[in-house]
Amino acid sequence: MKRNGAEIIVEILERQGVRTVAGIPGGANLPLYDALRDSSIHHVLARHEQGGAFMAQGIARVTRRAGVCLGTSGPGATNLLTAIADAKLDSIPLVIITGQVPLAMIGTDAFQEVDTYGLTLPITKHNFLARRPDELLHILPEAFRLAESGRPGPVVVDVPKDVQTGECEFDAWPEPWSNSAPAPCNPSEIDALACMIHDAKRPVLYIGGGILAAGCEAELAQLARRNSIPVICTLMGLGVFPADDPLYLGLLGMHGSRATNLALEEADLLIALGVRFDDRATGKVAAFCPQAKVAHIDIDASEIGKIRPADLSIMGDVGQALRQLLPLMDAPPRDTWRSRIAQIQIDFPPAQPDSDHPLHPIRLLREAARLLPHDTIITTDVGQHQMWTAQIYPFRHPRTWLTSGGLGTMGFGFPAAIGAALARPDRTVLCVTGDGSFLMNNQELATLAELGLNVKILLMNNGHLGLVRQQQELFYGERYHATRFEARTDYAALARCFGVKGVTLDPLEDPAEALARIFAQPGPCLIEAPIPENANVYPMVPPGAANRDTIGGTVHA
């Protein structure tokens, strides 16, 4: 058969089962858009390429399948970079297809030419520059395989315009990529891990995004409950283990609870599953879990021993490791450790509002959690609102918490919420955001207005870059600079300008009734909550300090 490059791309996307792509057309990817016009694939027209790529991330984070986004050459490609880097740091599968100037013009500083291959090299799992239409038959299935297999990540395919229009003859379509069963782990290493857990008096499970990537939440819960091991989550790992379980200790690290950081301090075995010992999680590494042996399971060999040497390491799929481990485990009651954990949780309860303000973020989040269905998907931007949500919101299901963990990208939450709603139209999606973050991708209100998805935006407006202001207060002697927004923006009116419903909560009233009314109506709505300007996120470990050196967390309890 005979097809041009653009037709090959579209047909392979269809065969791969891709139903939705997000992007923006331009000169260098017009042939691709021309082919897409005749396809069953739903194209979502973003208003900024970064928005499109975060929509693809939203799809990927709730489905565990590669999200796909499209952009043109030059500024289209550069606008995508932040979202690609974000996917790399959080190990999110993405396939990004960019248009490029024709082959003969590459290197001539042609209009809208930029070295997409060079720019994306350090922020992708891998990248390709297609040189012939027939290469796409190999490159595209490879891009999906690379994005979704092993440790997932973003893959860029840069396609010059003449490779999109050029035709080629071929006999058969390549097989779509599908994930096969993970390779078995070394049985003697699994035996050793079983012994280590059996011998431990005070073990903790330190779990992260790797559990979500492996889809082994059930196996993890079985290990924790049968062996009475408390569960501590990284920012990426929230939702993996239900927050209402007595063994759940929640978030560790910079804004983790004192209970969590104290349990780690006392632990004699750290079972690290799909985590990378990030500096925001460990604090000062030398003082992290000083008494504990470390057993580290990860699919990426380069993570093992990178930050903290492991006493036992297993390189492999964490779900596979747990399935091999579970039959070998006995079920010690660990009464002493369990009662110690219970005591720590009583001594250091979760964060409380530090004022009576009716719209204190902690109150707002508790109210939202009470009103919304358990399977609501929560996305956040980056800042104080993100940390409050991570601390307070009782996540009960995996993949209901989407946040930019590694890169910490302000502007992530809103387009990611649109992506999540596209992938799961049956669910409610709540984007918790701040006034600083929201403005970084607010143009997607136009996209949301078109789609009419059930996305609610809870915008906590404190008129500041709050988490930066908090650092100036605590670590720069209250020398505030460039963290206060002088202009007062009416965010509810902004939403209405785009055709999205917008309301502002009354700062003097209990928000319960208003929130209940808004959440009961399907469809998009922006809820602006004027929160106290100077509320801080506590507890907090100063950057570079040990996790035991916490500021706050008891004084406000």
Partner: protein
């Protein structure tokens, strides 16, 4: 013992060198010398990277092994530093 040399077998196409050297430059890890040439009828390349002893070397070897176009990675200590001296080629020409 001679300085460490990373011995790499890679797919030979444009971009491989960037992928390999990028891992070093973004860690501010200097490459003291690079020797590279085609093997297997030009389908693959062999690269020798002269580096200094560094505690980050094992991590870098792991990262190199993850690269899509890297077929084999090995650390060796049997290649003399003079092999990387560009002047020896120039002297022979003269």
């Amino acid at each position: 013992m001679p300085d460490p040399v990373i011995d790499l077998l890679v797919q030979n196409h444009a971009g491989v060198m960037s992928h390999v050297t990028g891992l070093f430059s973004r860690r501010a890890f200097n490459l003291e010398g690079i020797l590279c040439g085609p093997v297997e009828d030009g389908a693959q390349s062999r690269m020798f990277l002269l580096v200094n002893e560094d505690r980050r070397l094992p991590q870098l070897l792991n990262e190199l092994a993850k690269l899509y176009d890297v077929i084999h990675v090995e650390l060796r200590h049997d290649i003399p530093r003079q092999a990387f001296d560009p002047m020896q080629v120039v002297r022979e020409e003269v």
